[in-house]
Symmetry: C2
Subunit: 464 residues, 2 copies
């Protein structure tokens, strides 16, 4: 037998013990129920995908964060031979900084990667089963994803996403429904102080153009603008300057969004811009429709919201909770992405709830109600020759719908009660020498230790 | 936009579309419910573990089947340099057949591996959280595992296991409860013709010794004996001969087990062997206790049952279904394994249900009842200006507990009904120009297309 080994879970991952799981399952259960009430159906995809399915979809940085699975057998031997040439030959283009070298070699040594998000697998599935899926696919997917990031507080290498997406419809009813579903999830979970920030990718482009910023600088300008609530106007101006945006243009961009303009006001400011005007009209339609959904009072137009991912093409959303940096989830319309595997244009819009952050916030705020111990009662015999009777009684109580933990050996009443109490199990049934009845103890009345109850009446007493 | 790419899931893995998931979730739901009724609590562990946690636990063949995750960054560069030396130097011990070469290099290139089973992670968790877990831990775990096997019919590289284990008790009550739980799962799922074969690892050793076979040949002899029901007595004798077991000893071994001896008869045949006698007594105790559990009538002593895994130390079980080669799951007592990380001796016993085979058999035999379409009704507007009203009505119906799919755009009644019908959705609600009421269509009475119902009465009509 080996001596004690390192038994922590791998870096950035966690073991979920029963108490953790009860909380996680409670939250995913609520989310699942709300998604299903909205007519979304479940999908699950494999943990790993071919590397060519994953790479090139998340940018260079994303590619590096994909966990790759080593080739096996002869392919591995061949891969090592080739990869070693990359390392050994100084003239080879992939030799240089270690990041580049490793990235070049990775493709020779690995054939698959762990799922990085739930959107690329959805796109692959939508292309693969055209006949088996409805024309407008409303799917939800609650599964872990993996990223080879540096773990930190609340940041993991394995974490769950809870996605809803509607594929195949360009209608703004979709935006109203996905935000409505997410709002209902948050409300059922007990969130009261959240907002769903709303903006539009085409409106951001319009702002850039109206401000006179070169379209080549669009991404950098939007990234800078997104930080307005964190770094303030001065900070945004400094970043825009650093990125080489001209003084007049950067001030112009700020002027367009400062003062928390309403959607109507912003519409006036981009009035001459066709794309901007169309985007404002779409946002107005979303707000009009959302008024009859749970998201109605929560949607809040914010022209500085950008969201990192480059693939959005229309409305974008982000859940904001008071006093919390970062968001609990976000989404938007991304009409170009789903078609990447099929070569067709397919409209799509979705929302992703970040389970880990939801759990952290709910825990910090004491939002979990008592979820119980997962076991209704402990049954134990007090004499070794009564263990068989305790086993039989356990099955009778299970038959009545109770979750029963049987002690595998006879034990002293006080010891059994204390252990059950410590774990929050509400009832203890002690099978003694006396046949046909048992001692029932309740955590709610711990002082009563001599309550003898006929076996046939036990289940009712515990359930009543 | 790229042209059509290969969109199949990676080799040996599967996408689970909504209909697949309904069946999978139905089965895991039943298993979960039964396990929880037995007082088992859930555990989940990370998808990947450190390689040193996994390797050396499953034999050389198992080690090769572990999917390994490539190092990243500078560690990868260093690993390639070292691995290339292994490949390049003919004198190096790891050069030889490609399998050996790759295995030697893998440890230099990878730091983690995908979970291979649910037992090694349980052992790690049990060692890591001694204060957080009860002294006798009854845990269940339903998660996928991964093996880099050659995929085939019903054999996957990603597949689910449903494990129950009791850690920390040497009592035979545990064997009675885990087999009882598994039997109840199978019964709830509708299996009627199964048996749980029962044997004991120490009894197998006794048979080997009583037959006069060298203990060094124990494993090979047991593997040969395990094939008795497939290859018959002649086949087993031939394999034993090939493995170098003496003629008299191999005939002796066969004589000990042939003729379907009862446990009592076999006890008499190994009467002089202390370990064998103790094993027979344990099996008798298990059968005595199991008589009051759902496993009672299903347990069936079989002295030829061996099970592949070397880590069993006591009773072993295997689910056998008529007309089906292979088993639906198995388990046993393995008192030496859990302690491998803590350095302590920890008794343990468990059972693993193979979800994939259960699903295949249930499908083949038509054992699934109608699990529905996952959606109770489709709501659609017949006029574009009524889409908002349809959205509002959808939320009213959801509030009443229905799972409602809203069509994002107005459509022709016939088209909506046909699509809903094709997908098995039982109800269609059409929101027309007439306010305050809608047309209700039922899949059960498809000929009635003009049933106008007040909005307030719709939910009750569909639920009633």
């Amino acid at each position: 037998m080996a001596k004690k080994t390192l038994t922590k879970p791998a870096k950035g991952t966690r073991d979920f013990l029963p108490e953790d799981l009860r909380r996680r399952e409670y939250v995913t259960g609520v989310i699942r129920e709300v998604y299903e009430a909205h007519g979304f159906v479940p999908l699950e995809t494999p943990t790993f995908e071919r590397l060519e399915t994953l790479l090139g979809k998340y940018g260079d940085e994303g590619d590096q964060l994909v966990f790759k699975i080593l080739h096996r057998g002869q392919q591995l031997v061949d891969g090592i031979r080739q990869a070693s040439l990359h390392i050994a030959e100084p003239g080879n283009i992939v030799v240089g900084r270690s990041g580049e070298t490793a990235a070049g070699a990775e493709k020779l040594l690995a054939d698959m990667g762990l799922r990085y998000d739930l959107t690329v697998p959805l796109a692959r599935v939508y292309a693969e089963y055209p006949g088996k899926l409805p024309a407008v696919l409303k799917r939800y997917q609650i599964q872990p994803v993996w990223r080879a990031d540096t773990p930190g507080k609340g940041r993991f290498r394995e974490f769950y996403q809870c996605d809803v997406d509607v594929v195949g419809s360009p209608s703004q009813v979709v935006e109203a429904e996905v935000t409505g579903a997410v709002a209902q999830c948050l409300e059922r979970l007990g969130f009261e102080d959240y907002q769903i920030r709303l903006n539009h990718r085409a409106l951001l482009r319009a702002l850039i153009e109206v401000a006179g910023i070169d379209v080549a600088q669009e991404t950098e300008a939007i990234v800078a603008l997104d930080k307005l609530d964190k770094v303030g106007a001065e900070g945004v101006l400094a970043e825009l300057e650093q990125k080489g945006v001209a003084a007049e243009a950067r001030q112009q961009l700020l002027d367009l969004v400062l003062g928390s303009p309403t959607l109507e006001q912003l519409g006036a400011r981009v009035a001459g811009h066709a794309g901007g005007t169309a985007a404002v009209a779409e946002l107005q339609e979303i707000l009009r429709l959302a008024a009859v959904t749970p998201a109605g009072a929560r949607l809040c137009f914010d022209p500085t919201l950008a969201r990192g991912l480059g693939y959005y093409t229309g409305a974008i959303f982000e859940i904001q909770v008071k006093d919390l940096a970062g968001s609990l989830g976000g989404g938007g319309r991304y009409d170009g992405l789903i078609g990447m595997f099929s070569g067709k244009d397919v409209p799509a819009c979705g929302f992703s709830i970040g389970l880990e952050r939801i759990l952290v916030v709910m825990e910090q705020r004491g939002m979990f109600k008592d979820l119980g111990a997962g076991v209704d009662c402990v049954v134990a015999a007090t004499e070794p020759d009564r263990v068989e009777a305790a086993l039989q009684l356990s099955y009778q109580l299970r038959q009545a719908g109770l979750r029963v933990e049987l002690s595998p050996k006879a034990d002293k009443p006080g010891k059994v009660r204390k252990a059950a109490d410590g774990r929050g199990v509400p009832w203890v049934v002690l099978v003694t020498a006396e046949e046909g009845s048992a001692l029932l103890w309740s955590r709610a009345k711990p002082e009563v230790t001599d309550d003898r109850v006929p076996e046939a009446a036990l289940a009712e007493r515990m359930q009543g």
